[in-house]
Structure formats: C-alpha cells, structure tokens
Symmetry: C2
Subunit: 363 residues, 2 copies
C-alpha cells in the first residue's frame, strides 16, 4: 500500500522482505530478500537508500542505532521508535509527559501480578510482554495468579495493566515531519475481535467534539514530545466515565488508518512517505461523511475469484484491497472500504463484502 502511494510521487522503493511471497515483494521492482534481525543484511539493504522506514516495529533497536551512527537516515529514529517497540519504555515515557494511561507497572512473577491487582481493583489483570506483541499476540487477560504464569515463560519482561472499563476503542492518527509540521486525521472508532482489528469507522460516530479534539491534541503532543517522524497511530480506550486512555502506539501506517486510502484526500501511506522525505504534508480530511473499513480475514476458500465476482457485481462502489497473501483461516488477507452519507448503509455493505470474501456468508 505504501508502494502504491509512492508511485505517483516518484518515490522509488527498495523493500526488505523475508520471502518472494511477501505482499510487497510481489509488486515492488527493487526487492532485497533477507532477515531484518541481521545487522549486515540491514547495512547492505540501506546502502544507497535516501531514507529507511518501516511497516512493522520488529527491527532491533540496537541495529537501528548502529545504522544511524553510520549515517543512514532512519525515520522514525530509534529513540522514537523504541516507544512503539517496548511497552515498558512507552509507558514510562507517557507517564513522564503526563499522558493518561491505564494503571500499569512492570511485574516480576505471578505473585507480583496479584500484588498489582491488590493495589487496584483486583483481577482480571491485563499482562503484556513488553516486546514482540502483534494483533493480540503477547497479550493475556488473566483472572487469577495461576493464569498469570504463562506470560513469564518467554523470559521477556512483563507489564501489568488494569483491565479498563471502556465503552469503545478509538484511534487518533497523526503524521509529523522532521521539520515539525503535523496533520491530524479525524478520530476513528475501532472494533477489535479476538485482539485483531475488525472494523474502523471514520469519523467515530457520536463522539463529543471536545473529546475528539482532546484525542487529536494528545496524539499531536505525543508525536512532538517523542520526536516522531511519520505516521503515529494512538490507540485509545474511551472509558465509561468519558475519559480517554492510551492503549498502544504504532509508528507506521496502521490498520486504523487504512480507511484513508479511499476515504481521505491524502492517505496515511502517502503522508507517511511525505513525512519521512520531509515533504509538506497533504490534506488529511475525509472525502465522504462516513467511511467504513472492514478487514477481510482468511476463510476456508483459498480461491477468492468467485467471491470477487459476487461482491463487485453486488456493490459497484465497494473498494477492495487484497494483500496477495496465501489465505489461512483468521489471517488478515485484505480489507474493504465503503464510503457514503448513510452510516448504516455503508457499514452493512462493508461488512457484507468482508463476510462474503471470507466465506462466512454465501449470499
């Protein structure tokens, strides 16, 4: 998706991919195969690149520091990115700048989790490994000390967080350039299923404009205080008592911003590229009253051609985005977007298409 948005800007991509089957490797002319955890591979890859950026957070921080020390332009830089890589670092940083977060602290063992629970409102407690989590992996909601044992098995530091009583999840997406220019997308509502983003509505329906402005301001402040270059997604809980708390940060184009490809004047991907290239940012405003994105998860049918026929014939306004991934049950293999004036109509159409493509409905 970043490659698509880079083509019209004349931005030429070199991508580092694990295998030739990776989504980006299928469509980008200049593909280097290799392991992003290997510094020599990263050095060879970066040679000749004007700027290096990311579509995930898993490149080791110390390798990025080494590249930066050798003169490679890394955006966002490792000092910013570490806050999206390490949840312990992120929570400490957000605390230090006064950003509201769920109650949290690092915990040493299951007994310490019980102590953390007792300091607040008891079990259930949310446990997260500080590194390596993704789409619900590395996150546990535990009801007692016995259940709290599992997260410690990996030997990675574990963060305990209160289980927030939220009414919904929101995301505030902003993009910031090295010169400090920043744009804020409308705050969106994000629906998770089994820890995986399922559906995003832009803008978030029935959101108090003051709370929306607070969320955008918070995201802009985090981007500035952490000196972030590029796209920042701030995933938020909207609590029952009308507050917002920061759940997670992502410093790259994010699933909560995929709606912007079809729904905003400038997509998150294009603005991320403009930012990392220090070009002026594009208009983040929505083009339609409502835009709904629903992720397409893999189902039982590896061949989606016939599903395409049905979905395209049923709804000529449907925007389909497939990622070229092998279909596996539950795997994100694409998304669909619908925009329009009537939220219920837009939602129904997007949900129907995603369900049909997955194969959970057949009419």
């Amino acid at each position: 998706m970043a490659h698509q948005s880079g083509i019209p800007l004349g931005v030429r991509f070199r991508i580092l991919a694990d295998t030739p089957q990776d989504s980006a490797a299928q469509v980008v002319a200049d593909t280097v195969l290799g392991d992003y955890r290997d510094l020599e591979t990263l050095r060879r890859f970066a040679a000749g690149c004007d700027v290096v950026t990311f579509d995930h957070e898993h490149v080791p921080t110390e390798h990025l520091r080494a590249l930066q020390a050798e003169g490679v332009v890394v955006r966002p830089g490792p000092d910013a990115l570490v806050n999206a890589q390490d949840k312990g670092v992120m929570r400490a940083k957000l605390d230090s700048i006064g950003v509201p977060c769920p109650r949290h602290r690092l915990v040493a063992d299951p007994a310490d989790v019980t102590a953390f629970a007792d300091e607040g409102t008891g079990y259930p407690v949310v446990l997260k490994t500080v590194r390596g989590g993704y789409d619900g992996k590395g996150v546990w909601v535990v009801d007692d000390e016995a259940q709290a044992a599992a997260p410690f098995l990996a030997g990675v530091p574990v963060l305990a967080e209160e289980k927030v009583d939220f009414v919904r999840e929101l995301a505030a997406n902003v993009v910031r350039s090295p010169s400090g220019q920043a744009v804020a997308y409308p705050v969106v509502e994000s629906v998770q299923e089994n820890g995986v983003c399922a559906e995003v509505t832009a803008p978030a329906p029935d959101l108090d404009p003051a709370l929306a402005a607070e969320a955008q301001g918070l995201a802009l402040r985090i981007a500035g205080e952490l000196d972030i270059t590029g796209h920042l997604a701030v995933e938020l809980f909207q609590t029952r008592d009308g507050r917002i708390l920061v759940n997670e940060l992502a410093m790259r184009p994010h699933n909560s911003g995929h709606w912007s490809i079809d729904g905003a004047v400038t997509s998150q991907f294009e603005n991320h590229l403009r930012a990392v290239l220090d070009l002026p940012l594009g208009d983040p405003r929505p083009r339609a009253r409502w835009t709904v994105m629903v992720n397409v998860l893999g189902g039982d049918y590896p061949d989606m051609y016939h599903a395409f026929l049905h979905c395209m014939a049923r709804d000529p306004g449907l925007r389909i985005h497939m990622y070229g991934k092998d279909v596996k049950p539950g795997r994100k293999v694409g998304h669909v977007t619908v925009f329009g004036d009537d939220l219920e109509d837009v939602r129904e159409r997007a949900r129907h298409a995603a369900a049909y493509l997955r194969g959970t409905i057949t009419e």
Copy 2:
C-alpha cells in the same frame, strides 16, 4: 498507473518495456525488456499471462492476430483494436454504423487533397497518416496543395478530413467487459495545446445534458458495435452548431480519463483491468462536483524536488502524479489533479501547480 490500480485487486502485472527506464519498468516487479514489434518477443512475453492488454496502440495488428490464433487472450482483440490503430479502418467502420464523423476520405497525393478540398469548403484540410500518430504527431493542417506534400513522404496511406469548426473538444469514456457490461464516465472537456492534451475538466462545464447523454450513448454504441473490451476513449468535437463528431478513438486508459484516479469512485485504470479480466465493473461516478486535471510538461529544470516542496506546501489538497520520466522540454512527465465545489478555484490550483512544476512560473 495501471499497476497501482491492480495491486489492491491482487492483479499481478508482467510488463513489456523498451528499457529499464520506462515508467512502468521502474515500479513493476515482473518486467520483460524487449521490442513490441517483434513477434517472438511477444510470444515469450505472453507465455503464462492470463490476459494481454495495452497502454499504447502500436503493437502490430498481425502479431496480435498470431498470438490470438495461438490461444493467447488479447483484450481488446485485434479486430477491435485495429480501429484505434488505423484511422482509415476506423473511419470506414464508424461510417458503416452511422456514427457522425468529420467529412473524410483517403487521398492519394497533393492534387487529390485539393480535389477533397474542392468537394467541400476548400482549404484548410486536416491530413493524417492512418497509422503511427500520437500526441499531434502524424497530423498536419494544410492551407494549400504545396503544404499537402509532407504527409505523403512517409509512404503511409493518408486520410484527409475537413477542419471542423468546433467550439471545444470533449471526450466520452466508457469501459466494456467481454460479457457486455459497460459503464460510462461523465463526458469531460479536453483542452489541447499544440496537439497535446493540456487540461481536462470533469464533467464538461455547461454541457447540455441531452448532448452529454448523446455522447455517452455514442461511445457505448461504438464499444458494443466494435466489440471492444476495456477502456474506450471517444474524442469528440463539439461543433458551433451544437453537434458532436468523432475525432479519434483510443482503446486503453487515456489521458482524458486520468482525472478519474482521484475524481471517480473507480478509476479508468481499475475499470480497464476489471474489464479485461471479465470482473464486474466499478462505479464510474465522480466523487466531487468538479475535478480538473492538468498535464505537467517538462521544462528547463530536471530536478523537481524543490518545485514539489512549493506546490505541496501551497496546496495540501493537490494530487500529484509523476511518471518517473526524464524531464525534457515539452514532454508529458506527469499530471496534477484538484477536486472541489468551485470550478474556478479548482482550475486555478491545478494550472498553477502544473505551471510551477514545469518552471514557467516561480511563485
């Protein structure tokens, strides 16, 4: 641009390019280098392709017939495409189905041009080589028999046409699938400078709805009668006395449809791909009241980076599309698009950006 629109559909491209510097070769992973006039090259290229289609009309018709006879799926097929390759064939075909065209006939020599002039309203006369023309090349407007000599030098048959007294040029763009489904984009106004498309406004301002419907109907009828698969651009003259006459046909995504990338629900590129793959077509309706596209021609400055900075900073809503071509004076190197409610504002912004990128203005 077709590659961009194919990525979300999961359509993987193999392209045949003259050189690695060709626009598409810079961004498409599967690029074959070779000469499109060589049948063996075409055979090797087509092996393993589900469908072969085009971004220009210059592949020899006989080679396409050979490929088709060997089982290659060529869309549009050579029997349709020849009408976009050979202006003599095209005029004869349009005459046979009663489509209004400028008065015309094949001419043998300069004296025959004078005879053609005398049969109508005299000189000036428009002369065109029946094959090989592009962006004003292969077209002469001649004032007398002496000037009429030049077009015959190439040894290609020459078509004479009346010089139409037109008030403006329009384009009716439609897309048709092998199953016969078709969609019509709004009729656009096209402004040519020195035989090259300079600016397109969608929809054409102040166009009588009856004439717009007639133009769309004409284009749909041509697509059907000629059994065209894919995008058809029908370039039209709007005459002073309120008629429309067909100027040219193009059977591929066309400059008069570039506005649709940012301006329509489904772009001409995506619908062309859907058509040649026999997938249901997407909604061709405009997303904004007005969309204006202005071509960016090469100027004196080979490096456009600083022009980017200015244009993006001045107008965050500007959509820039650069083609990765070396900048040469007068060469089409990209286009810009602006959409909105106010036609004058939209036009001024698009024209300003194109002029600034070319370097003809500096503020």
